[in-house]
Subunit: 415 residues, 4 copies
């Protein structure tokens, strides 16, 4: 880039980060204040999350607290150059790039490992597993890791139970301020947004099938129904299916629900949730989108094999011809709210990154047992309280009167 | 009663039970079929739940399966005479009465204990704790207890940890088909119903404050908002308060929310959730109702002391005069959906009683460890599947393809 | 009745009326103040509406304003004795009774006519058409009529166009404070309430078909869906059906929607909306209820002919046996929210009766043209503003800035 | 453009139009079939609507029916070059360009007038008023105009009442398939979409104020509330405000509602709905967006005068500094769902353009009176029915039984 192009990138990156700051009251208030105690001063902290403006603001908060921050991306395709330049202009180390592929990304992660971080803020445990495999010495010297996702947590737990995790880890995902909010509200909202923005279709009256009724599926189904869609839920767990029914959705088998559906959205957390048997049931013009963790919930390779041809119907929409029917896949089956939208809303990431930032602070300042730990409840509560305060809300204190006599009543029959 | 009056009561009780049967597809289908294996034949089973038509149908299903059923009530005020007569006419033993008070009820429970039941279907552990205290020999001979409520489960757990539970217990409340449905959907619907039926008021545009945002509070808030009320949630846990905010409700302190509220509904599971400090904040005409377990969430005695006078404003509505303001309490602060309505919808109790009936069957036919046990997941699933089938719904089987490779992917970094 | 019974009835009636007063801020405030100008002093006003507590409060407001009020009932089955006694104890003339049938009711209406009212507050034009036919002299001397319903308005318009209406009439139904609120919100809420109260069923997950998508049908469908029901709308007008689809409901033919429906609610304003062809499509256990004006939307006589037998399944539920299927009719097909509930919420009638009370005042104090007139818009606005004020709400005044230039812009191309 | 660039533009334009076709079942089915009767063959039809893919598909349908179509844009900033090239490649005449300003647009409209169209499909009456003023001869020779908007209809009505409309006009806006759907569902959905897409904010828990409670305001308020926002409605008409309250929204004065609001959306149809007095009430960070017809509902010039500075905070977001507070304006106050989004969903325009296309056909084939006419109800019904059929839905025919006796009942008292 020319000097002027870099200046423009920096300016644009700073604008984006400033917009994030203004809508991140927890990071910008409570977290900043907590980190000001110096516990992170001089500690090397690696931040390896999708490298866009929201992550950048977390990195800046850590740097402001005195940490030596090194920043990388948790995915080769989500890094934004203007954000990278803005961080560098503010003196942070960034090892990552927009426009690279998997090989470059792997290379960058190892370069990050070579900076010998003490604490890792990870996403999918992408840096941690690479350090374990390829940089064993640096790995053993880690003071701790705080991990954002369910998938990463599973990986860390497997490492721990295999005796391969020699330091304390924190799992942000188990914090209530993370898992109660991001999947249900964040993914729910942004998946429906992406579906409508990419297709320019009307949701009122649309028949939508949601595959899977976990937090993500519930969020999508709730938002879609709220906007006037008629929602069917495809779920193999009968108790969850019964909940879906009582939430007002249609439930049934794939053969019951898929024919006639205008859109099918996967949210199972599994693989090949929608494959050849399901493609056969789709009506002409059906739209497929994925909101689950894995890019493989829609079996796009199988669709490619089965189709006589395919073409780009609109940006991020690929149309497959299946003997007289057309099936449209959004964002090639990747997470539609990230690939086809702007990811989580800022306020959701404010909560998640508050958990991650406080997690790094907690790892730096507290003696924690080796293995996978959970963020203490009082920090979780403090994040929620800070968010409420930002909206001008102060709750009453719990009243001990309400609690004591209940316990007394339960003792009856024991004396 | 005269012979004719008894005949009429029997007829009316049978009509009520038949209506329950027609809307209880799980009990009337899957449970009946499962119990037909003879495991309960000749076993003496005590059923001690609110003695009205829904309970009666459970008792009849057990009797039909060959059990020697003895029936009592879990509360002195909810027994219905016509149902008692209908059960007796069908040959079941009933020890209970409509119109008695606490002394008669205690007497009846001990008489029930004296029938030496082998298995108890209990509610609040009311019979179990009395047997432990007053009939220790019969208590020790019990083969097992299956308990319906959270409160009863807490009592059993205390007994177990004190080494005082010499037999296996099952806790229906931990079954997903119980706790996921009854508080949220059942209490939510029927509390709003009772509020509107008792007051003849309009809910659209009404300002309602829900105290407590657990399952019950969420259910009430959801239904009230859905009907057009503006809902405030009074909650001391900041994470729950934040969830309430993201569900679209107002949150804040009592001082923020109570002034101007048309109705305040308690659902904390605690005691004195609304007392003198809160009464001071209420506007003239405010309505107080309780949907939590304890009759003491609204501090009616304190209200009586503070009021200059009180009078019956409508059936089940008592108006208290507080220096220029009137505050109306529904059903004297007792559970408003039971005292002022018909309790849970039939379909909710179909699920709960399926758990209880299968629990009794499980206790009779399986060697379970001493202490508090949970209903096996496959029975929970079977109940949900039976309910779905009754609505003509058959789900697809889980597809192993969806699961296997996910696990494989998590192993990366471990070899 | 004995003296003591009368005293008790008076006390109970007064309690009911006082409850109405406390929840009728418009009648109790703005209407009372407006009527205090003396325009109704000494005028004889007949109030002929369902004779229960809400109507009684309107009558009392008129009496307090100095009118000579005579009160009757608009339907033989909705008069409440305690309310009658309470009104008489306060010196109002009541010509009506609880417990009579159609002949007694006709008799009472003629007796009312014989009191020679000057102004009639009518419902269905029941008194007006009888005066026209049987008391032509008194009819000609009427100063005016203010009418509550659509049906009554149609009757008055027919009389007017036949040259048979020699005085001014006002149609409350055309006031926005009447027709925008009572059918949609009032009937919507109370119909769903009655369905659930009479059946003790759960609405979450229930399949409900609403027949007709006018204001009443929309209200019912909206409330039912909001509570978790899956709603189908049976409508022959394609534009209304399309609206129903975009509101998230299923639409289709009777053959598409009726099989499998748990409840079918008629709201067409027509006759025999559900008859033999529809009964054939119902599933076993289906519930039929009517929320439309006419008791004949469900063709109960045809059902009686087709059924092999029928019986009372619960209070207000009659079960018909149709060759292997049971069909349940609520409240014999009469308006289910009145026959099986408490009618409109108080706040809805506060608006409607404000229109009627101000209508009577307007007829008394203003020279209106002969024929059917509409309440002036400023009175309509004043009622809404009074209701908002009762909730502590004051709106901003319209800003002329917002309006002027728009008109200017439209003139382009004309000069 | 180079030849290759043109080829690429044509290809992209065709892809867009094809996507529209696939989601426009009414235009692609019923309208195409109706126009095949030849009534439009050889007739010169001008289409002057926002010149993007949806409009292009209407133009192609008309051309396919044999009309000589000339296409222009109704706004200088919404014309899309790829669509223009695709239409030209298919032989249609297009007089319009992307990238021009008002002067070029005026020039293009006069050039369009000079093609001497017989029938105009107009939007805002933009071509019609210009022909009246600047091309009076061509104007007088017009066979008819079919107009899309309320504003345009008002203009035509003013021309008619001034005796200046010498031919029949049709107003699409009065067709139920237009006005019942586009403002409420179309603008409602896409305004909320644009707000979220431009800001990357979370809607759950957001406090949103909607200014004006007409169809547009209702749609926005409904969708925002459905997604978890807490909505306040600022409305000066007390009856509409009362409806808003009963729909569950907060109502009040600007001073009640604006402080603390995160976003304020105007939908009054007026001018300067939000100006200096309102800016003073906004909290720091508040977002302003306009969804009403006029770009002047937010008084941006006044904001510019009052602000100490302003800057681009994100694309389409301009931040104004007001003595310590920042106020953000979306899309410079232009219609946010068009300027900051993709305009109406395709399915909404399918209905609107079906009205316009059938309107042109009706003008061509029927003798209509001079002045402003409404599309016949049977065509309106046919459009809705076609849309339902596209979703596999066929309604029952109206049953005369339901109607007849009702009328009979109304005649009572007349003989």
């Amino acid at each position: 880039m020319t000097g002027q192009a870099v200046d423009e990138a920096i300016a644009e990156g700073r604008r984006k980060i400033e917009w994030v700051r203004r809508n991140s009251p927890v990071l910008d208030g409570y977290v900043r204040e907590t980190l000001a105690d110096g516990a992170l001063r001089g500690r090397r902290v690696a931040v390896v999350v999708h490298l866009e403006a929201k992550t950048a603001f977390l990195a800046k908060i850590l740097a402001e607290a005195g940490a030596e921050v090194v920043v990388g991306g948790s995915n080769p395709f989500t890094t934004r150059n203007d954000v990278v330049e803005a961080l560098r202009a503010d003196g942070l180390t960034v090892i990552g790039r927009e426009g690279g592929g998997y090989p470059e990304w792997e290379e960058d992660l190892l370069a990050l490992a070579d900076t010998e971080p003490e604490i890792v803020i990870d996403d999918g445990a992408e840096l941690t597993v690479r350090m374990a495999k390829h940089r064993p010495d640096a790995f053993r010297r880690l003071a701790g890791v705080t991990e954002e996702t369910t998938t990463g947590t599973h990986r860390l737990e497997r490492m721990a139970s295999a005796g391969m995790l020699p330091f304390p880890a924190l799992t942000a995902n188990n914090a209530r301020c993370k898992h109660l909010f991001d999947n249900r509200y964040g993914t729910g909202q942004t998946t429906v947004q992406a579906l409508l923005a990419l297709t320019n279709m009307q949701i009122a009256g649309m028949r939508i099938v949601v595959v899977g009724y976990g937090w993500v599926g519930r969020g999508i189904a709730t938002y879609a129904k709220a906007l006037g869609a008629r929602v069917g839920v495809l779920e193999v767990d009968p108790v969850r299916a019964l909940e879906a029914m009582m939430d007002g959705h249609a439930v049934g088998s794939a053969a019951d629900l898929l024919p006639g559906a205008a859109a099918v959205i996967t949210a199972t957390g599994g693989i090949r949730a929608v494959g050849l048997p399901e493609f056969d049931l789709l009506s002409d013009g059906a739209i497929l989108a994925n909101a689950g963790h894995h890019d493989l919930e829609i079996d796009v390779p199988a669709l490619e094999s089965a189709a006589t041809s395919s073409r780009q119907a609109r940006p991020q929409i690929r149309a497959f011809d299946l003997s007289g029917r057309v099936v449209n896949v959004l964002s090639e089956g990747a997470l539609v709210n990230i690939a086809g939208g702007s990811g989580h809303p800022i306020e959701i990431m404010d909560l998640t990154f508050a958990v991650q930032g406080l997690g790094a602070h907690h790892l730096a300042g507290t003696e924690l047992p080796v293995g996978v730990n959970v963020l203490p409840k009082h920090l979780d509560d403090a994040i929620a309280a800070a968010r409420l305060r930002a909206g001008g809300i102060t709750l009453d204190e719990p009243d001990q009167r309400h609690v004591d006599d209940v316990l007394a009543g339960l003792s009856e029959g024991l004396e």
